[in-house]
């Protein structure tokens, strides 16, 4: 499947925005992790922003960055949102409330608990009516999202906004699923005829044992392993380095998603 990339959005510790992130990933600047400022996500109406979860604000921040770079009208772009665990912070609040005698839970919190919360808020913020999918494939959720997005692009011949995110898991859930840093990434993908700055070819291969190769920088490799959405760093690093290389993303043990990135400047 041949797909072009027209815009990237990025938010993570030490990688705030694609411009800054690209320089770090290309090795032009050292990687210096730090506290990520609460994303503006200014597309969200103020009252929604106030009530929204971290997941929603991070996802919308990177989505609007990527869409802005692509120059596309967000109302014309179907979306794929990929997250391993979804709204873990909301689950924590709901499960605590369900332990209290009256079991009163907030209706807002309840509708914010669905896996498509960020996708839904993006649709509301942009008044879009295109199709929108939210999915999970545990640690391989980014690869599964890329696969879903690429098939929409190729089969339906539409542009697609792919957003992958997982946020810090709060205590005590972090016992079961330790994710210590938030990570969100967005890619705008389109049929390859659009003449965009980067072109990828995506295919599936059987995995014959052996982990997919990681990143050279040990600090960035720790980020990649900490957060499922950060599995995207392999592809982002390849793009930052000007492409012309192949990235292997693991897809549920038995397969790998092979991404050939043509030489690019994005």
């Amino acid at each position: 499947m041949k797909v072009s990339i027209g815009g990237i959005g990025l938010l993570a510790s030490g990688l705030v925005g694609w411009d800054a992130g690209r320089e770090v990933l290309a090795g032009m600047r050292p990687y210096r992790p730090g506290v990520v400022p609460d994303p503006e996500a200014e597309l969200l109406p103020p009252n929604e922003r106030r009530r929204s979860s971290d997941c929603v604000r991070w996802a919308i921040q990177v989505a609007q960055e990527a869409i802005g770079r692509s120059g596309l009208d967000p109302r014309e772009v179907p979306t794929v949102f990929a997250s391993s665990g979804g709204e873990m912070g909301v689950f924590d609040k709901l499960c605590r409330a369900l332990c209290l005698p009256d079991r009163m839970i907030s209706p807002t919190l309840f509708h914010q608990s669905v896996h498509n919360t960020a996708a839904g808020y993006w649709g509301i913020a942009t008044a879009g009516q295109q199709s929108s999918t939210a999915l999970s494939c545990y640690d391989d959720s980014f690869a599964a999202g890329l696969l879903e997005a690429a098939t929409v692009v190729c089969v339906e011949e539409r542009p697609v906004l792919l957003v992958a995110y997982d946020l810090v898991v709060p205590k005590p859930l972090s016992q079961a699923r330790p994710i210590s840093e938030g990570f969100a990434v967005a890619l705008v993908l389109a049929p390859s005829s659009d003449g965009w700055p980067a072109v990828i070819r995506v295919r599936l291969e059987e995995a014959h044992g052996g982990e997919a190769v990681g990143l050279e920088d040990p600090a960035l490799e720790r980020v990649r392993q900490d957060n499922p959405a950060a599995r995207s760093l392999l592809l982002l690093s390849a793009a930052a380095a000007g492409g012309g290389r192949t990235v292997r993303l693991s897809l549920s043990d038995s397969q790998q998603l092979i991404v050939d990135l043509e030489p690019c400047h994005i």
């Binding site: 839970i105 209706p107 309840f110 669905v114 929409v152 005590p172």
Partner: protein
């Protein structure tokens, strides 16, 4: 926006369903014919809400063992029960022989996965340290995590193709058909196991109660006095293959799908049903059918005031009052993330058996609804049916199912 291009029909070469009406399509069909609801007063755990539920019996009578042990939870027990019905495991094994394990995708839908395990674990937190009990941590991945269901099904069936779980609230297991169709169309697999499993939990019972969307009585879709939904649980599966390889005359196939969002509100439908209209139109375009070709519509029909009236507007604007429409939620309850597969399988049964079920518990059709709402069962051959599913986040999906010529 140009219309979507027609898609290649995909045969449902095997399908199965477990709901409150029973295990396998036999009991479901019998309940449809005898107009016997699976809804009963809520007796789930220690829940004291005054509501009815469509509960699957027997889920507390066994546990998953051996290599499936880590997956043991209500949602995966229900998933397992579903796999045992109607020869589905055999059909999947035969497909594996035909195509190879890597050439069959697994695309499942659920809304809450095994969150019930996390609810239980929170009750057992250490009052001083807030720590969760020791049994929970190693099990999160296999029970509550959203991919758990996909992991479980591909493990049970020994499949190694692309796998993912779609979770878009109520539309989840309708959208699995769209994702699987694209994977097949793109040549990434030759067949797909699609389905959905959602099970009762406190989160949805108290959540829908907080939204004031639960009826105190068994739900009454399209009734003038309808006052909310009843929750249910279900597991269903379909094996999708390319029609030209396996489909004989009269076989039920997926002919089209349409997906859209409302872009309006997280838990209220768009007042004019604009997103729903788009999903239905796209499903017809992919099926190369006109509105006049559709004989039966299985409505989302949750029995909330808003859903049934907005859905009616959308359906009437496309089809007028010609096709027979009904909701089958009076039998099963709203099975949330499993509603898509539940109603796709029911629609497949309706096509295969020539049955159009009248809306159960609808005593008097709301006079403001303009579509032709069936109250009594009708017998007669059907060639093409539409199944609508709309969910939280304004996420819509419509499927066109039909018999191959």
């Amino acid at each position: 926006m140009p219309d979507p291009k027609p898609m290649t029909p995909l045969t449902l070469s095997a399908y199965t369903l477990v709901t409150a009406n029973g295990r396998g399509v036999g009991p479901v069909l019998e309940a449809l014919r005898e107009r016997r609801s699976g809804l009963k007063p809520c007796d789930f755990e220690d829940v004291t809400l005054k509501t009815s539920i469509g509960r699957v019996s027997g889920l507390d009578d066994f546990s998953l063992d051996h290599e499936l042990r880590p997956f043991d939870c209500r949602n995966n027990r229900l998933a397992w029960l579903g796999l045992q019905q109607d020869g589905f495991m055999v059909a999947a094994a035969e497909a594996k022989q035909r195509y190879g394990a890597h050439r069959i995708a697994v695309v499942m839908g659920t809304s809450t996965s095994g969150i019930l395990e996390t609810e239980h674990a929170y009750r057992e937190r250490d009052p001083h340290t807030d720590r969760l009990p020791g049994w929970y941590s190693p099990r999160y991945r296999y029970t509550h995590n959203m991919f758990s269901l996909g992991h479980f099904v591909r493990t049970c069936l020994g499949l190694q193709g692309p796998a993912m779980v779609i979770s878009t609230a109520c539309s989840s297991s309708a959208k699995v058909f769209a994702t699987a169709a694209r994977l097949m169309q793109a040549g990434l697999c030759d067949a797909a196991v699609v389905g959905g499993v959602d099970s009762l939990c406190l989160t949805t019972l108290y959540g829908f109660s907080a939204l004031q969307l639960l009826s105190a009585d068994p739900c009454r879709p399209c009734d003038e006095d309808r006052d909310g939904l009843s929750l249910g649980e279900a597991a269903g599966y379909a094996l999708l293959e390319f029609g030209e390889r396996v489909g004989g005359r009269g076989t039920v196939a997926l002919l089209g799908y349409g997906e859209s969002t409302d872009g309006y509100h997280m838990s209220h439908p768009h007042p004019e049903g604009a997103g729903a209209v788009r999903a239905i139109r796209d499903s017809l375009a992919r099926a190369s059918l006109r509105a006049e070709d559709i004989e039966y519509i299985n409505l989302h029909g949750t029995a909330t005031r808003a859903n049934d009236s907005v859905e009616d507007k959308a359906v009437y604007s496309i089809f007028g009052a010609r096709p027979a429409c009904s909701s089958t939620k009076g039998w099963t309850g709203h099975t949330l993330g499993a509603a898509g597969i539940t109603e796709a399988v029911i629609s497949a049964l309706c096509l295969a058996q020539g049955l159009m079920p009248g809306t159960l518990n609808c005593r008097r059709v709301d006079s403001s609804l303009k579509s032709r709402i069936l109250r009594e069962n009708q017998i007669g051959s059907i060639s093409f049916a539409v199944s609508n599913i709309f969910g939280f986040g304004g996420n819509n999906c419509s499927l066109v199912l039909g018999k191959l010529p």
